[in-house]
C-alpha cells in the first residue's frame, strides 16, 4: 500500500512539468526581452515606448533586413496601464528584468518623474539597476527607434557608451536608478540625471540605412547633466559645469583637462589620474559656509605650446595654471547649481551630518539658503609624469636636454 502510494506520488510529480504554465515558469521563447523604455508626455498623458529584442536576430543565422529590435508605444494615463495594453500588440510577455535604459523626454522630466517611476520600483520583476537619461528637444520614443552603429542593440550601445564615457570623460555622469532613488530620499541632496541629444538626419537615423555606410548620418550623444529639485528637472549644466559635478562627486577616474598655456593661446592638456574633492561644512557667525577642497594628480597629456618643461619654474607655472582652471570650473558649477537652487552636490547633507541641530532649523528653506551659500574652493594640483618626451618636439632647434 505504501509503495503504491509512493509510486502514485511520483507519477503525479512527473506529470507536473508537462502542464503548461505551472507556477511562474516561463520558457525563454515565451518572453520578449525589453532593454529600454521611454516615457514621453503627450497631451497630459504618458506615452510609454518599449524597445524589444528580436531573439532570432541574436543568433548566428539571422535573417538580414530585419531590425534587431522592435519598438511599441502606447498612450495612456499611467505607465502600468500602458505596459499591459502593449500585450495586445505582441505575441509574448514583455520581460522587464533586463531593462538597461530608461529615457524621459524633457517635458516629463520637468513635470516630475516620481509618478512614472513608481511602478518601476514597485514591480519585483524589475531590477533597479538600469540607467536613466533625459533626452533634450526630442521624444524618448525617437531615442528608442534609433539605429546605432556599433552594437546591434541600441539600448546596449547607449548603456555601454554611458559607462565608457563616464570613465574617460568627466562631463558625463551615469545615474543608476538606485542612486536617483537615494537622491530623492536623502536630506540635503538633489538628484541629477544625465542628458542626451540626438543629432543628424533623424529619418535616416531611424532606419537601417543609418549603419549601411561608414558615415553615420544620425547619432546620439550624452551631454550635460540635468539638475532636479525633488523629482522635477529644473535646469541643465553645460559641459564644464557637468565636469564640476563629476569632480565634486568624486566620480572622476580619468579625464582630460584642457587649459590654455601661460603666455600663449595654445593648449595644454593634463590627464587626470587621481582626484578627490572633500565637501566641508562650517558655521561662521551663525551662518552656514561651505568649502571644497580638491586634491588632483595629473600627468602631462599633450603640450601644444612652446615651453621648456625641463625648467622647474615653467613647470610650476603650468601647474598653477591648471589648478586655477579647475578652481574656475568648480566655481562655475557651484554657481550654476545655486542659480537653480538645486543642491546636487550635497552641501545640505554635509551640514546635516556636522550640525544636525542647526540643520533642523535650516532644513525647510535650505534651497533658498543654498542659493546664497558662500563656498570657498581650494585646489591642490599636482602634475607628475611628463610622458615619454619632456619638452614638445621642436624641429627647428636641436636642444640637448
Amino acid at each position: 500500500m505504501n509503495k503504491k502510494r509512493a509510486a502514485l506520488l511520483l507519477l503525479a510529480c512527473l506529470t507536473v512539468p508537462l502542464l503548461t504554465g505551472c507556477f511562474n515558469s516561463k520558457e525563454l521563447n515565451q518572453l520578449s526581452v525589453a532593454l529600454a523604455m521611454g516615457i514621453d508626455t503627450v497631451d497630459g498623458d504618458y506615452m510609454v515606448s518599449v524597445q524589444l529584442v528580436d531573439p532570432s536576430q541574436m543568433s548566428k543565422n539571422k535573417v538580414p533586413d530585419r531590425s534587431p529590435t522592435t519598438v511599441h508605444s502606447e498612450t495612456c494615463s499611467t505607465v502600468f496601464e500602458c505596459v499591459r495594453k502593449m500585450t495586445t500588440k505582441t505575441s509574448r510577455e514583455i520581460y522587464f528584468s533586463h531593462l538597461q535604459m530608461l529615457i524621459f523626454d524633457e517635458e516629463t522630466a520637468r513635470k516630475g518623474i516620481k509618478e512614472p517611476l513608481d511602478v518601476l520600483f514597485r514591480d519585483p520583476e524589475i531590477r533597479p539597476d538600469f540607467q536613466l537619461a533625459v533626452v533634450k528637444n526630442k521624444q524618448a520614443k525617437d531615442v528608442l527607434e534609433f539605429v546605432t552603429a556599433t552594437e546591434l542593440l541600441p539600448a546596449l550601445e547607449m548603456f555601454k557608451s554611458l559607462k565608457v564615457s563616464e570613465k574617460l570623460w568627466a562631463p558625463t555622469s551615469s545615474v543608476n536608478v538606485l542612486e536617483l532613488l537615494r537622491g530623492f530620499e536623502l536630506d540635503g541632496r538633489n538628484p541629477v540625471i544625465t542628458g542626451m541629444t540626438l543629432s543628424g538626419d533623424m529619418k535616416k537615423g531611424k532606419s537601417l540605412q543609418n549603419v549601411k555606410q561608414p558615415h553615420v548620418p544620425a547619432n546620439f550623444h550624452y551631454t550635460g547633466i540635468g539638475m532636479f529639485r525633488q523629482d522635477r528637472l529644473v535646469g541643465w549644466m553645460n559641459e564644464d559645469e557637468s565636469k564640476a559635478y563629476t569632480y565634486i562627486m568624486n566620480r572622476v577616474t580619468s579625464t582630460a583637462g584642457l587649459v590654455n598655456c601661460p603666455h600663449s593661446d595654445n593648449k595644454f592638456i593634463a590627464e587626470v589620474t587621481h582626484s578627490h574633492v572633500k565637501i566641508k561644512a562650517h558655521i561662521e557667525d551663525g551662518k552656514p559656509k561651505g568649502s571644497l577642497h580638491a586634491m588632483v594628480t595629473a600627468n602631462v597629456g599633450e603640450v601644444e605650446c612652446d615651453v621648456n618643461l625641463s625648467d622647474e619654474k615653467v613647470f610650476l607655472e603650468l601647474e598653477e595654471h591648471v589648478s586655477y582652471e579647475l578652481k574656475d570650473i568648480l566655481e562655475r558649477g557651484v554657481r550654476k547649481a545655486q542659480k537653480y537652487k538645486a543642491d546636487v552636490f550635497g552641501f545640505g547633507e554635509a551640514f546635516h551630518r556636522k550640525y544636525p541641530k542647526h540643520w533642523r532649523q535650516w532644513k525647510d528653506d535650505w534651497e533658498e539658503m543654498f542659493s546664497e551659500l558662500p563656498v570657498e574652493i581650494k585646489v591642490d594640483y599636482k602634475l607628475e609624469k611628463m610622458g615619454q618626451i619632456i619638452s614638445p618636439i621642436d624641429p627647428k632647434t636641436n636642444r640637448e636636454d
Binding site: F23, N29, V33
Partner: protein, 474 residues
C-alpha cells in the same frame, strides 16, 4: 536424502554406481579404474577441467601404478606413503566426497575399503593478473585482482607484510558455495565490526552469490538502505591494502575481481589511488576538480532549466539574449528538452557498455552526429542544451567510483524534475534534503560523511584534501 549421506560401500563397483547416480551421469564426471596390485583396483573420480591433470599423472597415478612395493595396500597406506600431494583428507560419506569433487578435488576409492581419499589438486584455467581496466592510473601499480580468491588475497598480503593481517573464511550461497574471505588488520580494525560482519555473512541464506553486490545488499539492513553506495569496491590491490591499514574490512569474493570494502565514506568515492602517487599540490587540485565535476554532473541540467524558465533575471543580459536566440523554434519546454537529451545520452552510454567492441565506433559516430549536430540543426534542441548535456556527461566520467557516478546520474534526473517545478528555490531545498540524508546514513555503523560530519580533526589529513605525507607520520 538418506541415500546421499550414505557411507561408501566396500565394493568399488557399487560406489561407482552410487556416484554416477548422484552426478546424474554428467559427461564431465570422469572416473578411471586402475589396477594397482594383483587383486586391488582403485577408482579415481574427478570433474574434468577442475583438477590439475599434470599433478594427477605425475604424483598420483604414477606412484599408484608402481608395482614394486610390498606393503599391503590400504587407504591409510596410500594416503601416507604413496600419493605425493599435500592436501589429502579422508572421506566417509558419498555426499561429502562429492561436494569436494565438485570443488575440484580428486577422489580415490580403493576396492575393499569403505573410506575415500580426497586430494585437493584443483587447477582450472585462470585469467592471469592483468592491468586494471576500471581504474587505471598513469603512475602507480598496474596489477589488478583476478577471479581467483587466493591470488587476490596474496596480492594484498604481498603489499602488507604484517602479521596482524587476518583472513577469515565463510562459505556463502547454498548452490554456489562461494568462498568469501574477510581480510582485516587485527588491532586496527574494530574487532566488533569484524564479528558483526562474519555473523551477518554466516546468516545469509541465498542460493547464489556471484558478486560483491549480492553481499552488499544482503548485509545492509533494510531500513538503512540508500541510493548512495555504502560499500566501496575496487579491483586494485593497492587500494585494498591501503584500506585495511586504515582499519577497513575487505571482502574477497571468489569468482570476481572486485573486492568489497567497508566501512566506506563519501570522501572515499572521490579519491583515487593516484592521489597518493602524485605530488600533493596536483592531487589536491584534481580532487577539487572532482568535487566540482560531481556538482556539475548532478546539477548542471537542473541549473540550466531553473535559470532559463524561472530566473531569467539572474543571467547576464547578453547571455540571456544568446540563449533566447538559440531557443527560438525549439518546440519543447526546457525540461522536456533536457530530459530527452539526457535520456538519449544514457541510451548511448548503455549501448556503449553492452555492445560488442567491434561495432562501438558506429554507435559513437551515430550518437555524436545525431545528438550533437542533427538535433540542433533540425531545431529540436538548442545548442546550449547540447553543451549542458555534454558537460554533464563528461563530468560524470571524472567521478572515480563507478558506483558513485551511477548514484549521481540518477540524482541528476531527480534534480531536473525539481528544477522544472520549483526553480532555484526547489534546487536549494533539494540540496539541503540531500545533505541531511547524507549525514543521516551510515556505512557499517560509521557515519557516511565522516570525517567531515561529524568533524574529526585527526582524520582531516586525508579527507577532502590530502596533506603531504610528511605531516601524516605518527
Amino acid at each position: 536424502m538418506g541415500t546421499q549421506a550414505e557411507a561408501f560401500s566396500a565394493e568399488l563397483h557399487e560406489n561407482i554406481e552410487a556416484l554416477q547416480t548422484m552426478m546424474g551421469h554428467s559427461v564431465d564426471f570422469v572416473f578411471r579404474i586402475l589396477t594397482i596390485s594383483d587383486n586391488r583396483r582403485a577408482g579415481l573420480f574427478y570433474l574434468e577441467g577442475m583438477i590439475d591433470i599434470q599433478t594427477m599423472q605425475d604424483h598420483i597415478i604414477r606412484p599408484l601404478m608402481d608395482r614394486t612395493r610390498e606393503h599391503e595396500i590400504t587407504t591409510e597406506y596410500i594416503k601416507d606413503r604413496v600419493v605425493e600431494v599435500g592436501n589429502v583428507t579422508l572421506a566417509y560419506s558419498i555426499s561429502d566426497a562429492l561436494e569436494q569433487v565438485i570443488a575440484g578435488s580428486l577422489l580415490i576409492l580403493i576396492d575393499g575399503s569403505s573410506e575415500g581419499l580426497l586430494l585437493a589438486i584443483e587447477g582450472w584455467e585462470e585469467r592471469a593478473v592483468t592491468e586494471s581496466t576500471t581504474q587505471s592510473v598513469v603512475r602507480g601499480p598496474q596489477n589488478a585482482f583476478t577471479e581467483r580468491l587466493r591470488t587476490n588475497t596474496t596480492l594484498v598480503r604481498r603489499r602488507v607484510r604484517d602479521m596482524r593481517v587476518r583472513l577469515a573464511n565463510v562459505t556463502v550461497g547454498s548452490m554456489t558455495k562461494t568462498d568469501v574471505a574477510v581480510m582485516y588488520m587485527s588491532g586496527i580494525a574494530e574487532e566488533e565490526l569484524v564479528e558483526q560482519l562474519l555473523e551477518k555473512l554466516r546468516s545469509i541464506k541465498q542460493d547464489a552469490i556471484l558478486e560483491g553486490e549480492y553481499l552488499e545488499e544482503l548485509i545492509t539492513e533494510r531500513k538503512r538502505q540508500t541510493i548512495f553506495p555504502t560499500f566501496f569496491n575496487t579491483d586494485r590491490p593497492d587500494v585494498i591494502a591501503a584500506g585495511i591499514m586504515e582499519g577497513k574490512i575487505a571482502l574477497f569474493i571468489d569468482g570476481t575481481p572486485f573486492v568489497v570494502m567497508a566501512p566506506a565514506f563519501f570522501t572515499d568515492f572521490l579519491q583515487t589511488p593516484e592521489d597518493y602517487y602524485q605530488s600533493y599540490f596536483y592531487s589536491n587540485l584534481i580532487r577539487l576538480l572532482r568535487y566540482i565535476s560531481l556538482a556539475i554532473c548532478m546539477l548542471a541540467p537542473a541549473i540550466y532549466i531553473s535559470l532559463t524558465t524561472f530566473h531569467q533575471d539572474m543571467l547576464p543580459t547578453q547571455l540571456l539574449l544568446s540563449l533566447a536566440a538559440q531557443r527560438e523554434g525549439v518546440p519543447f519546454p526546457a525540461f522536456i528538452e533536457a530530459f530527452i537529451m539526457e535520456v538519449i545520452f544514457e541510451i548511448l552510454r548503455e549501448a556503449g557498455i553492452r555492445m560488442p567492441r567491434t561495432i562501438g565506433q558506429a554507435v559513437s559516430i551515430v550518437g555524436s552526429i545525431v545528438i550533437g549536430q542533427a538535433a540542433v540543426e533540425a531545431g529540436i534542441v538548442s545548442a546550449a542544451m547540447v553543451i549542458v548535456v555534454a558537460i554533464t556527461a563528461i563530468a560524470s566520467f571524472v567521478i572515480p567510483s563507478y558506483t558513485m557516478s551511477i548514484t549521481i546520474r540518477m540524482l541528476r534526473f531527480a534534480f531536473m524534475i525539481i528544477a522544472s517545478i520549483f526553480g532555484v528555490y526547489g534546487l536549494t531545498v533539494g540540496i539541503i534534503v540531500l545533505i541531511i540524508h547524507l549525514c543521516g546514513i551510515h556505512s557499517f555503523g560509521k557515519p557516511y560523511m565522516s570525517p567531515v560530519a561529524p568533524y574529526k580533526k585527526s582524520a582531516q589529513t586525508d579527507a577532502l584534501i590530502r596533506y603531504p605525507f610528511r605531516s601524516r607520520t605518527k
